[in-house]
Amino acid sequence: MRRALRWLMAVCVVVATSTAAYAADLRPLVQALGSGGYSGTEKALAQLSEAGDPAAVPVIEALQAGDLYVRKSDGTVVVARKSGDAFTLTDPLTRAALGDAPAAAVEKIRINNSLRRAISASLGALTLMSPDAGVRRSAADAVFKSRDASALETLSAAIAKEQDKGVRAAMEQARAAILLTGEAASKMTDADIQAATDTLTARGDRDALVLLNMVAGSGASDVTKKLAAAAVSTLEQKLAFWAALQNLWYGLSLGSVLLLAAIGLAVTFGVMGVINMAHGEMVMIGAYTTFLVQEFFRAHAPGLFDLSILVALPAAFLVSGGVGIIIERSVIRWLYGRPLETLLATWGLSLALQQAVRSIFGPTNREVGAPSWMSGAFELGGLTITYGRLWIVIFAFAVFAALLVALKRTWFGLSIRAVTQNRPMANAMGIRTARVDALTFGLGSGIAGLAGVALSQIDNVSPNLGQGYILDSFMVVVFGGVGNLWGTLVGALTLGSMNKFLEPYAGAVLGKILVLIFIILFIQRRPRGLFALKGRAVEA
């Protein structure tokens, strides 16, 4: 984007100095952008891009960005940028300053989807010769999408000149797209058609498939249709393979979300045996902590916003953990060994926490932004992997590993295991069991808080956030085997991928039901879950 702007500026300087005549020619067309509503703007835009003058590029860019306005007093089309309450006006072609105007004195030239398409098409056609490879690349992609036959000549010239391999490939694909779908197709030789379909097959993505499908179903010649249909089936096979891999990734991603949500519960329920229905609310508190941290960053250090998530992690751990310790000290410690009462008390607590958050933050969703390193997606072969999901997968495994180390390798972990396995003996050995109980519950809740930070990136931050995960969490822990962290890991990943593999065939609703039935049957066979604890600890 920035590169594009820099290039544009360069063009503008050139234009302003050498081609005042151009500006005069474009003037009536630019002026026409401001009249006749959407269709008027679209017509003027088409003429503007037909003129083929790069001087029009900044004007079209301004239109795309929504910076093009009509001055009400004389109907002139101007570029207006907000500065304070007023707008600063400049001439769209010469970029001469036209002074300030209040908001009421200008009217925006509005654009809709069809205009947005036309804009990217004409920008594509006009920037094919840009000195910047990145701009040329996106220009080629835009032409590929628009298949604008009028760009064919420029495109061929650009291909002849192009040095960059990647950009040339993109341009050739764009040319193939135009040739196959346009009127030129009837005049092409079979070899040319073959070459064009091959180019598209080599592109190998869904956009190419869309095009080939279009050609196969169109009124093109029989040869073209046949070649396109053959290419479609090759491409579909390839895409089906990638789709299966993609599904595996979705399963892994959903599994890691489940793992994150369940792993805190694996501590409080699995290790301590407390049926904690307020677990979901710990997750929710973590998400709200993220929101507060981000608000702080927005207000005081907007430049460091990308780091807000990293700050939110320890904050959420401490806040949720603290709330957990308070809950343990005030409610749960009186109820050890009475699962039914614990269940009811923690359920009540979860409702109270939800309503408290609702009263403080309001019932509506809060916006938690994604840092730039967690937004967008990248392609890996035929896979589309979103950064947000990738980080969540990595984070889930990191938390799992850290918890495993904490329980197995530290003094605190040793005390936890001692207390849960044999409380009187641990007491006799000088471990302060009450304190260990509180800290263990705090640890479980804190991890739930960490999950909240991650979930705030993919789900609603609302008071109901936790409710959606509490059931799944219990399902994972029970399925994996109560009291076994590895069981939680395997359980989460199994349920996640099972869900994702059922979804395309059975639909989301039936898929969930089938998973549930599977778990019920499984628990019938193995009441203690996948990885059952053995020995004396089971009875304790």
């Binding site: 959407y38 929504g66 509005r110 809709n112 989807n113 069809s114 947005r116 398409r117 990217s120 999408k145 869904r206 498939l209 869309v210 499908n213 279009m214 196969a216 179903g217 789709a243 599904n247 979705y250 991603s253 959903l254 979300v257 009540g348 409702l351 939800q354 309503q355 609702r358 309001g362 019932p363 509506t364 969703n365 809060r366 916006e367 932004g369 994604a370 967008g376 997606a377 589309t384 979103t386 947000g388 993919i458 789900d459 609603n460 609302s462 008071p463 109901n464 409710q467 959606g468 059931l471 399902m475 869900n499 994702k500 979804e503 395309p504 639909g507 989301a508 609703v509 969930k512 549930l516």
Partner: protein, 436 residues
Amino acid sequence: MRTKQLTASFGISALAGLAMGAMASFAMPAQAADDTIKVGILHSLSGTMAISETTLKDVMLMLIDEQNKKGGLLGKKLEPVVVDPASNWPLFAEKARELISKDKVSAVFGCWTSVSRKSVLPVFEELNNILFYPVQYEGEESSRNVFYTGAAPNQQAIPAVDYLMSKEKVQRWVLAGTDYVYPRTTNKILEAYLKSKGVKPEDIMINYTPFGHSDWQSIVADIKKFGSAGKKTAVVSTINGDANVPFYKELGNQGVKAQDIPVVAFSVGEEELAGIDTKPLLGHLAAWNYFQSVETPANTDFIKSWKAYTKNDKRVTNDPMEAHYIGFNMWVKAVEAAGTTEPDKVIDAMVGVAVPNLTGGYSAMLPNHHITKPVLIGEVQENGQFDVVSKTSGLVPGDEWSDYLPDSKDLIADWRKPMSCGNFNVKTGKCGGKGS
């Protein structure tokens, strides 16, 4: 497990709701019934639906407050009675009964989900009171005691599909919805409508997801796949409530742009967009009868007083709020015309009442207890508002019994005497068709 959770949650939230409802009722000053006119407000203030319904409670309080400043109604002050049905459908019926029998309200403004409306419907019919229902819904219903101020399918869904068909030349359709009565009925109507327009069955994909669905990865991938058949594809979304945010986030993440596959939503308004970064959603559509961005003097005033009333400059307005605005003003006018708040007389005075709406026209109450509204199509902007790209030239009258469903195409509703029937079959000439 789901059922178990639901039952448990009903039980407990019923308790919580009762407690809170009781508190709310106690909080109101216990005045003698004679010097005030009581207006019931039946919106969830806790539970899953609180996210949408709390705003409607606030807007009702504001409207009542404004009416009182203008001198009240029939020389009396209006007194709001707020109860909290806690997103619990059976509790809606209980609370409605309490409002009518115990608090003796003259009319009730409330409900959001269709299932809550269905739950209170028998109560209103039995005790003969008035309900104003402000949300777009699936139609296929008309009751003498209910006034439907939200959109019927022909005032939202069908114009939206028409827009996509004519302006975006869409040929392939994904009907995606949450799995409950509103999306299922709406999609049934749309499917019949699309087929009547010559769309082939293989060009329609229908997908349902559970409430609060949060993992949209494979469904969005499916939509992309469905959209790669070489024909222009659009998604018609009846996805409800909380599930929308992760859905739109996933669309943004997977790069589904409005220029390629536009999504038109019937349950996403300004309020829902408040929780998302709308930059990747630029150009996706919503169909409503009102948008906050509509520039009319009435709307500017409304937004101003709403922001002043809530003391929050960032609060947005939305379509169901306008529906309450229209419904409340209609009720006020009908009460003034009838000279009494007695439900029977007010119901008879309601039909034909016309009040200004916020989009620069007048909405009138029809004999079928639905209203006339303009239909607007808006595109999502970067600031979380909608830019209106299409507006019906006139007002569209609400059609309660869809013409596109075989069961209901012969039915009409007309609550004027002497017909006074909610499901009159024009073929057989008898009152009592489906739904009787």
